[in-house]
Amino acid sequence: MDYSISLRLIAPEILLSVSGLVLLLVAAWGGQKTGRLVSILSAAALFGAGLMLFPTLHLGVVGPDTFAFGDQFRADAFAAFAKALIYLAGIGCLMVAPTYFDRLKAMKPEYPVLLLFAVLGMSIMVSASDFLTLYIGLELNSLAAYVLAAFLRNDTRSAESGLKYFVLGALASGILLYGMSLLYGFTGTTSFEGVRVALSGEMSTGMLFGLIFVLAGLAFKISAVPFHMWTPDVYEGAPTPVTTFFATAPKVAAIALTARVALDAFGTQVDAWRQVVIFAALASILVGALGAIGQQNLKRLLAYSSINNVGFILIGLAAGTVGGVGAMLVYLAIYVAMSLGSFVALLMLRDENGDALATFADISGLSAKRPALAWCLLALMFSLAGIPPLLGFFGKFVVFQAGVEADMVALAAFGIAASVIGAFYYIKFVKVMFFDDASERSVADSTTAHWVLLVVTTAIVSPLGYLVTPSLGDLTDKAASALFLLP
């Protein structure tokens, strides 16, 4: 095994881990006041790591040239696309955090460092081509995420959400490990390639159990129904910048990982996992749409919205074709923009005392007080609902198209019907902001960083986004083909 080639392939991960370690030292010697500096440097490190992905992404490099450390790690175009999304989301989350934590006098330099390590874990997850790599990346991401959820340790709800996330996440890790150990026992290998070969032909009950347990563990991480129960509680309790992070980057990583496991490791048993994914997709769409209807809290509402979106993303995976995975990646990219934008808007909704406007009653009549913010939210909500001509519609369109092309017309029709249910609460959001009587609470000014992010994400989901869809589609096609190399 030639280490120099392997080390070159994991260059972005090396950059991230080295900068994480150095920034930890900066934090240790510089003390609490370095929070902002470490945030900026972390964002720079993420940006640098993102630049390293460019050649792989642009040329669509796939195949054995991308295998590092004897096929434990694959730096192919698929991983590069997911990593680019993850790094961008990470930079966005670093931009919004210092203002929020400074107000609560809780900004610590460990926040960006932990976020950097969480991103490193996700980066390893999306490149995993061995169950050991998968687990180690997942655990690195999860451990950092548990701490981030409980970061405001003096706030009981933040501590509660951290604990809840930790206990349920440990349970999911246990399920995943159990499935992996069954697969290892029945196939004799942990590499995706080996499992794929061993699973071809008739599948034994033990293998099937292993496959189901692995999928259940991964479904927990992407918060697909019926493993979604933690999502609203954790999203509501965690500090809002952390929720922004949870709703974007880890979702991308876990979904990309699920796609790779399903199509690579279980690629010879598509029929076995397809029904599981179809069920999870349908149930997520339905529960995400119905569960959100009664919610008054905006963060909980967006949590259900993310469950709902995961359902649509899984339709692309269920198709199990190059087109389906490409559509899934397109939807994922659009989802990250919409989700980032809407959570940043939630962060901007604060009154003069710095208290969050957390419910529908608080934001009623927002358009009279802050028209720019209200219009941006309108675009984001309509996009989440999938109303043309916003980009959210395009995401849903390509996913349904892939479903129809894979002869899953019923699934696509159900998805379209359920997205109409989901549109109810997105439109309610807009109705409350524009047509209800103004609430008494004022809305404070926001910082430039928030505005920049909000405007950029709104511009992406606006019809302007269609300018980039051809090149986005080109990239996702190259990325998706990385998963379909072998017969």
Binding site: M1, Q72, L140
Partner: protein, 206 residues
């Protein structure tokens, strides 16, 4: 011959000290008996040629876990007499758990007797043994084939440590009425006192 004698010596001592763990009246003694049991189990591992596991037993279990036990037992004021008082009350539950464990044993042995599970067969193309001993082979694997995962696992431990510190460390706060000797000694008369020459009949302006 010596091996047989050593085996019986270690085996008898493991069982005897394990019995003493639950029989000892003093919980600190229990933990000390447990340490003895670990040492003898390590001896058994050496006998079967698993010297790495023997070392792990001593380093991890004796060095870390048992010492932690000792700390907990000595620092927490647990009234063990009171815990034992519940023995009669919890007796049926204990019996039930014992029966479940017995049933599991019987089932497990029955399943084992019934024949092998249809497990996957190793490909047989595994790398040849690299070194003489288990330790050398494990080391060669961990620092060779699985280097990437091993290093990443190190980062996971670092994140766990940072997380524990972030969530529990509070900046040291000086308590009310705390004496700063350095500050007291550094205080000079000219910082604290003012010399004034008030004119007759007038007050002092400060």
């Amino acid at each position: 011959m010596i091996q047989t004698i050593a085996f019986y010596l270690f085996a008898v001592l493991v069982i005897a000290s394990a019995v003493m763990v639950i029989m000892a009246r003093n919980p600190v003694h229990s933990v000390l008996w447990l340490i003895l049991a670990f040492f003898n189990a390590a001896g058994l591992m050496v006998l079967v040629g698993a010297e790495f596991i023997a070392m792990l037993l001593v380093v991890v279990y004796v060095g870390a876990v048992a010492v932690l036990f000792l700390f907990v037992v000595m620092m927490l004021d647990i009234d063990f007499a009171e815990l034992r008082a519940g023995f009669v009350r919890n007796f049926p539950l204990g019996i039930a758990i014992a029966l479940v464990l017995l049933a599991e044993l019987v089932l497990g042995i029955g399943a084992y007797q019934a024949g092998n599970l249809d497990l996957g067969t190793p490909a047989g193309d595994a790398a040849p043994m690299l070194g003489e001993s288990n330790i050398e082979n494990l080391g060669a694997l961990l620092y060779g084939k699985y280097l990437f995962l091993f290093e990443t696992a190190g980062i996971i431990l670092l994140v766990a440590m940072v997380g524990a510190i972030v969530l529990t460390h509070r900046p040291p706060k000086t308590q009310r009425g705390h004496q700063h000797i350095g500050k007291q000694n550094a205080r000079r008369p000219e910082d604290a006192t003012v010399m004034k020459q008030p004119e007759v009949g007038k007050g002092v302006e400060l």
